[in-house]
Symmetry: C2
Subunit: 449 residues, 2 copies
C-alpha cells in the first residue's frame, strides 16, 4: 500500500500502457509520478535506437495544451528552450513567389513550436528511465485482449506469446489502435472512421550550403492553392519538412517527371530551387501519398479496466495542429480525475468517457474545417477582413473576445467551448454589421431631408 501525499491510503495499481509513442510515454510519466507500477508495451523498436520511420510526419506543432502537459512532467523548459523552433505566423506564399505573414497572435505575440516527433518521444522515454516504477517493453505487439479481465496477449520478437494482466489497460496505440479493436466487441460502442479524399506526401527543403535556413525560420509556411496546398515546418538541423496535401486523384495524374516539374512550376515555383529538382523527383516518386483518417468513438472505457486515449480515441486530421496537443491534454485531464477520485478507476474512467468526447469531437470537426481555411479561405479578402476584426476586438477586449484559433491554440479552454464562443461571436458580428448598416441608412435619410 503506497501512502500518497494527499493522505489517502491507496493501492498501487498495475497499469499497462499499450503504445510507447508520444501520448503513451507521457501518460507513463503521469502515472509514475502518482506512484503506480507502469509497463509500457510498444510494438515498434525503441525509437531512441532507430532511424526515422519514413512516411510519418517528423515534426509537429506544439501549443499550449501540449506545453501544459510537458510542464506537469517537468519537461516543458527543456523542450522549448533546447529544441522547439518558435513559429509566430503563417507565411503565405503567393503563386508569384511573393509572401506575406499572418500572425497567430498579433496581440501578445504568442507562438507555436515546431518540434521533432522522434526527439520528443525519445525525451519522454528517457525521462521514464528515472522512475523505478516504469518498465518499457519494445517489440511487443498486442494480439488479443480481454478488456473486462484486464488480460492481454503480446507477440514478442522470439514469436513467443506472453500473457499479461493489469489493473488498468491504457490504449495509447494510435489511430489504428489494437486496444480499440478489442473495445469494438463491447456492446453499445459507437464508432466512426472517415477518410478524407486527400492524401499527403512529404518532401524536404535541406539546409543551405552554410548550414542555415533557406527560408525565414519562425513561420509555418503555406502555399494555399484552393483544392490543395503545401506547408513547411522548420527542423533543428535547419532543414524543412514539406508536406503536400492533395486529392488522391490529383496525385494519380502526376505520373512522370515532366508532369511533376510542370505541376511545381505552375503552382509552387518558388519551392523548386529550395527543394532541388533531383530531390523533388526522388522524394515524390520514392513515396506514395498517405491517407488521412478521422476517428470518433465513445465510450472510451470498459468498466474499471480499460481506457483509450490520444489518437486511439480520437484521431483527427492534422490541419489544426492539435492531434498531439489533444492527446497530451487527455493525459492532463486524466491525471486530474485520478486526483479527484483518489485513484478509484471506475469513477475516473466513467467521468473521462462522459466529459471528454464532446471536446474531441469538436476539435475533430475544427480540424476538418481548417483544411478548407488553410488551403483556400486564407487567401480570400473576406477571411482577412474577419481576421482583422477578430484581432482588433481581441486587442480591445482580450478577456471578452478571444478568436477561435487563439482559444484553441493558446488556451486550455475546452474545445467544445471554443466552438460555442465562435458561434456566439459570429452572431455578435452579424448583429454589429446589421446595426451599423441600419444606423448608416437612417443617418442618410435624416441628413438628406
Amino acid at each position: 500500500m503506497a501512502q500518497l501525499q494527499n493522505g489517502h491510503s491507496k493501492k498501487q495499481l498495475d497499469i499497462a500502457i499499450v503504445g510507447g509513442g508520444l501520448v503513451g510515454s507521457l501518460e507513463a510519466l503521469y502515472m509514475a509520478k502518482r506512484g503506480h507500477r507502469v509497463h509500457i508495451f510498444e510494438y515498434r523498436e525503441d525509437i531512441r535506437k532507430t532511424p526515422l520511420a519514413r512516411g510519418r510526419s517528423i515534426n509537429l506543432a506544439l501549443s499550449v495544451r501540449g506545453r501544459t502537459a510537458l510542464r506537469d512532467v517537468g519537461l516543458e523548459e527543456q523542450m522549448i528552450q533546447n529544441h522547439g523552433i518558435p513559429m509566430r505566423a503563417r507565411m503565405i506564399h503567393r503563386l508569384d513567389g511573393s509572401t506575406y505573414a499572418i500572425p497567430y497572435d498579433a496581440r501578445t505575440n504568442q507562438c507555436i513550436y515546431s518540434v521533432g516527433r522522434n526527439y520528443l518521444n525519445g525525451l519522454l522515454l528517457q525521462e521514464s528511465e528515472k522512475y523505478e516504477n516504469v518498465e518499457r517493453h519494445f517489440n511487443h505487439k498486442l494480439v488479443d485482449a480481454n478488456l473486462r479481465k484486464g488480460s492481454m496477449k503480446f507477440e514478442t520478437p522470439g514469436k513467443e506469446n506472453i500473457d499479461v494482466t493489469a489493473d488498468l489497460i491504457i490504449g495509447a496505440d494510435g489511430a489504428f489502435s489494437a486496444v480499440r479493436k478489442c473495445m469494438m466487441k463491447q456492446p453499445l460502442f459507437d464508432y466512426s472512421q472517415k477518410y478524407i479524399e486527400h492524401g499527403y506526401l512529404e518532401l524536404c527543403i535541406p539546409a543551405d550550403e552554410s548550414g542555415g535556413f533557406q527560408m525565414p525560420p519562425n513561420y509555418l509556411h503555406i502555399w494555399p492553392r484552393g483544392n490543395f496546398m503545401m506547408i513547411a515546418l522548420p527542423n533543428q538541423d535547419c532543414s524543412w519538412t514539406v508536406t503536400l496535401f492533395m486529392p488522391f486523384t490529383n496525385f494519380k495524374t502526376i505520373d512522370s517527371e515532366e508532369k511533376l516539374l510542370g505541376f511545381f512550376e505552375k503552382y509552387f515555383p518558388d519551392s523548386i530551387p529550395l527543394i532541388g529538382k533531383e530531390k523533388l523527383i526522388e522524394d515524390f516518386f520514392g513515396g506514395s501519398p498517405s491517407p488521412l483518417v478521422a476517428v470518433k468513438c465513445r465510450p472510451y472505457h470498459v468498466e474499471d479496466r480499460a481506457l483509450i486515449i490520444g489518437d486511439a480515441a480520437h484521431a483527427v486530421v492534422p490541419f489544426y495542429g492539435q492531434g498531439m496537443n489533444a492527446g497530451f491534454e487527455d493525459c492532463t485531464l486524466l491525471d486530474k480525475l485520478f486526483q479527484k477520485h483518489h485513484d478509484s478507476l471506475a469513477e475516473i474512467l466513467e467521468e473521462f468517457s462522459l466529459t471528454r468526447w464532446e471536446d474531441t469531437h469538436a476539435i475533430s470537426d475544427l480540424a476538418m474545417y481548417n483544411y478548407v481555411e488553410m488551403r483556400d479561405l486564407v487567401t480570400r479578402p473576406s477571411y482577412r477582413l474577419r481576421k482583422a476584426m477578430d484581432d482588433f476586438l481581441f486587442w480591445l477586449a482580450p478577456n471578452f473576445w478571444v478568436p477561435l484559433y487563439n482559444s484553441v491554440t493558446f488556451s486550455t479552454m475546452p474545445y467544445s467551448q471554443c466552438v460555442k464562443n465562435r458561434e456566439w461571436q459570429d452572431k455578435m458580428l452579424t448583429y454589429f454589421i446589421i446595426s451599423a448598416m441600419s444606423s448608416a441608412l437612417l443617418g442618410y435619410f435624416v441628413m438628406s431631408r
Copy 2:
C-alpha cells in the same frame, strides 16, 4: 461457358454468399437465375429445421421494394396471398385505451404486409432447392477471408476449417457482418456504427380462446408515449408480436413485478388484459432489452472480388420498416447491374458502390427520424394537419405530390430522391401558407376601406 439469353457468351461465375438469411437467400436466387454457381454459407443451422431464435424480430413489414424483388424471383404471389397480413393503417392507442386509425395510403388504399421472418427465409431457401446450381452449407462460420484473392476460411461443425475460393464473395451476413470486418482492413474504408440510447424487448399478445385475433388485425398498432412506445404486428396464428422500445435507463428502473405492472397500468393499460399479467411478467423479465444499431460504410466492394449488401452494408434502425426492403432492393439493383455490365464484376461492383450509398444513408437517416415521429410527433395536431394536407394534395395531384411515407413505402423511387422531394414539398407548403396569409391580410385591408 454458359450461353445466356442476351446472346453474350460469358463465364459461369463461382459466387459465395456469406449469410443465408433473408437477403443472402434472395441474392442466391437472383444469381442462380443468371446461371452462376452459387454457394450459400450460413453460420446458423438451417432455419427450416430450427425453432424460433429468441430475441430476433419474428415479423417484418414487407412493402413495395421488397415485393418487387420477390416478384423477380417468382415468389410475390405466394408470399402475399398465402402468408402476408395486410396492414392498411397505423392504429394509435391513446392512454385511455381508445384508438384511431391513420391510413398509410388514403388515396389508393395500398398497404404494407406483416410477414414472418422465418417463414419468408424458409420459402427463399426452399425455392433455391429448385436450382441445381445452388448449394447450401449450414453451420459454416466465416473465420477469415482474403477478399482481394476471393479466399475464405470457414469453421464447420466438426471444428475442422475448410478453405473456399470464389470469383465473387457476397457478404449478406447482417449488421455484425464478418465479411465487413475483413473489408475494414482495406485502406480508405469509411465506417460508422451508432447505437441509439433505446433498446427493445419483445412481448406477445396470444390468439383469443377461439383462435382469433384479440385486436383488429389489418393495422400496425402503436402506443406512442413521447420518449418511448410500444408497437404490435399481427402473426398468421392470430397472435401479435409486441415490441416495447424505450431508453435502456428506463428499462433499468423497472426491476420488480410491481413496478412493471404499475408502468403498464400507467402507460399501456389496454394491453394488459391482451398480453396477460403472468405472461407479461414472464416475457419482460425472461429477456433483456436488445440494442439497436445503425451502420453506414463505403465503399461496399473490394476490387472485382467482394461486395457487402443488406444489413452488412447498411443496418438501419427499424422505425421505417425498410431494413429488409432496402436489403432486397440491393439484390434487385445488383441484378440490373449484372445485366447492364454483362456480368463484368469490376464494373458491377464499382457502380453499385458509387450509386447505392447515398440512398442507404438516406433511409438510415429517415429511419432514425421516424422513431421520433412514431413515438411522439404522431400524436400532435401539427403532425395530423400536415398529414391531412399531404393526403389532400396527393389525392388532387397523385403524380405531382407524393408524400414522403408513400414514396418510401409504395414506390421504388431512390430513397435519396424521396428525401429531396420532401424538402421541396416543405418549401412549397411554406410558400403556400405565406402566400395565403398575405392574400388574406391584403383582402382584409382592401375590404375594410
